[in-house]
Symmetry: C2
Subunit: 265 residues, 2 copies
Amino acid sequence: MRKKRDRVAVLGPEGTFTEIAARRIFKNVEFVYCDTVVAVFDSVSSGVEFGVVAIENSLEGSVNTTMDCLIDYDLKICDEVVLGINLCLVVVPGTKKEEIDTIISHPHALAQCRRFLSENFPDARLQRHESTAAAMEELKRLKGSAAIGPKETAKIYGLDVLFENIQDAESQTRFIVISKKAGTGRKTSIIFALKDEPGALYRALKEFAKRDINLTKIESRPSKRKLGEYLFFVDLEGSLDDKEVKDALNSIKERTTLLKILGSY
Amino acid sequence: MRKKRDRVAVLGPEGTFTEIAARRIFKNVEFVYCDTVVAVFDSVSSGVEFGVVAIENSLEGSVNTTMDCLIDYDLKICDEVVLGINLCLVVVPGTKKEEIDTIISHPHALAQCRRFLSENFPDARLQRHESTAAAMEELKRLKGSAAIGPKETAKIYGLDVLFENIQDAESQTRFIVISKKAGTGRKTSIIFALKDEPGALYRALKEFAKRDINLTKIESRPSKRKLGEYLFFVDLEGSLDDKEVKDALNSIKERTTLLKILGSY
């Protein structure tokens, strides 16, 4: 009897950037397409073996929904993958280069294509939009315009790619794999909240520094419960199996009001 | 000759929560109503004397646009005010309590009114929405529903307040006053980015800790330029005129790739 294939929940529809990321990690799986990031977390909570979601993007910063869900759901991070973003100049099918007088995108995407734009569209009006996807969606309603964003998003919105890889420098998105099962590996993610005491963060970081544990990410966000209360999202180099990591976590535990261990991978 | 009144840019239309906050600080001024937070920053940059914008909210976290603008614009923070949020149950005019079967709001607003909801609407379906304002806007299209949010927002959307102050605990929003002129006071806000070195944040915080400078806020966000690069938004107790604060800032300057001093207030 053939073994049942694992299922992997991703943001749909077929062909999204998230699915491309998931295919880098998973072979021979069944994809479950979800409407939202929250729906991916729900699927994994209710039995789908894995989920893949974007967590951070060098163009648009953190994916807030993913960060919120990591707090709210009881799931682990068991792997990650970083994908380079191929920024493209896209248009409604049939639009020609000569017709383009306006180019819309997220401010950071426009900034990252400055060289290409000044060489190819020196007179175009640059218009800022909330996200690269929102710019592409808007494009349908605009004549003589182009948008900038990933090829995969253009495909979703039925747009034509006029130019590929137009970014001056490399842009990247980091995706994580979520699951009920913990993984193993040399990187560990945690979330914590500190007691409201002067120097609390300094003393918590000291527990890592004095054990030479390097933090590769430290992001803090308001807890959304009380002004002045923060949640810290930390990635550190080391495994939960390491004595030093265990000791550091035990020491900071006493200083925290919340300590959530998302796993090693 | 009568002195020309100062102008204060706020998010419009008339009667917003931001205007209410601004009126706590400014008397006898002329309000300039802007469509967006970005437009408030633009107004102040181009000559309006002051602007008032929300920066943090105990329900919905940081106001991302405000944080981004603090980086991008060359303006100072010169004052702040914290307002309590009066959460209300609001309906389309004419809707009666008995007709309500669905209540929509931001997840944190729903959570903060749990006690009121279970006592008054034990059978109602609770539906999550992106923000309290978006829930109120949506309300127009829904029959037999109510939304939860501030009274001031209800007024903007022409909704009726059925119940006031229904939150279990207190919610607050912090607003800042922006200007070209620096203020003075016992609190100082800065933004910095650190060189990519192990223990960089720990050593930066040490400069404050060893001088007994208390940090009342530390929030970090991806720089949106490169994965793994963070901007730190820090509020500290002390004035830019204090020797200890000056020394600490001079010391961390050597470790930063960016240090922006937003002012004392």
